[in-house]
């Protein structure tokens, strides 16, 4: 029996999905396009950003939108030294859990900083908008240290 040859090949599993958003996600994305950040009030009054469609505790359908601030506090973070191809940054950056002013529950997003030493838990950050907004989670290009948003 001859030795098997090893057959390997790169391939890409890819599709551009067409997602319908429903009213809650759609409202959040519409507001992002308009450079506004909204959350939603949970059954116990907690404000979730981005808005959840259903309450995580009671499973109730949620509908009471609340505009929240564009600045907030870093609840936790990590520093990505070697960004992956898929990451929204080619240079080292942070992921962060950010509790926006007026929100009770932090959200995950990008935190852009020039070095790990500039990021800390509890730091104040502000959303920096993409040049063009279109109604997508990346309309927020990322958060930056408060005062650095321009």
């Amino acid at each position: 029996m001859s030795q098997p040859e090893l057959l390997s090949q790169d391939f890409e599993l890819g599709f551009t999905y067409t997602r319908s958003t429903g009213p809650v996600v759609g409202r959040f994305l519409t507001d992002l396009r308009d450079r506004i950040i909204v959350g939603i009030k949970g059954s116990d009054g907690k404000v979730y950003v981005p808005p959840m469609e259903y309450d995580p505790v009671t499973a109730e359908e949620l509908s009471e939108f609340v505009e929240v601030g564009q600045s907030g506090e870093v609840v936790s973070w990590c520093w990505v030294k070697e960004p992956r191809d898929s990451h929204p940054s080619a240079v080292p950056f942070a992921w962060a859990l950010i509790k926006l002013d007026g929100a009770d529950v932090p959200m995950v997003h990008v935190l852009r900083a020039s070095a790990e030493s500039e990021v800390s838990t509890g730091m104040r950050v502000t959303a920096r908008w993409a040049e063009e907004t279109r109604g997508f989670i990346t309309d927020i290009d990322g958060f930056v240290a408060a005062g650095d948003e321009s």
Binding site: P4, E5, L13, G26, I36
Partner: protein
Amino acid sequence: MSEEREMITGIEVPIYLKYHFTAGEATARFLSQVRQGKLVGQRCPSCNNVYLPPRGSCAACGVATTEEVEVADKCTVESFTIVYIPIPGNPIQPPYVIANLIPDGANISFIHLLSECDNDTVHRGQRVQAVWKPQEEWDYAMDNIRYFKPLDEPDVPSESIGKVPVTGWEV
């Protein structure tokens, strides 16, 4: 907030994931030999049936298959359909015939194209043979065989299809 603003109801989300895929041993061996212009299946040590393409196991017995058996590029039509829609990424123009073909010496069919035939007279038991691409175009792929074309040989009786001996069906 403006009442008449256009609400977002849908988004496009590109999800493209990169993989580096390695074929399984049985497939690699099979395609390596297809690249040499040979069809080599594997015999089940338990039920003696010959599988082509081989998958490294006999699915019926659940045992590994290793013994290699070269089979002919002459086949018998087990079943077929005439397709009227294009295959994504395949240049063949409809209508075309795709058939389940059992090669002489094997006991299971694989799917391939039938051409140079009258679509209306294709039938079960019909004898066909591979039409290979020019050797310089051979690759690790079954489309080294461009298609199968009818042979001027008597039909294999229905009840014998897939059960004829390894040497192939001869009258």
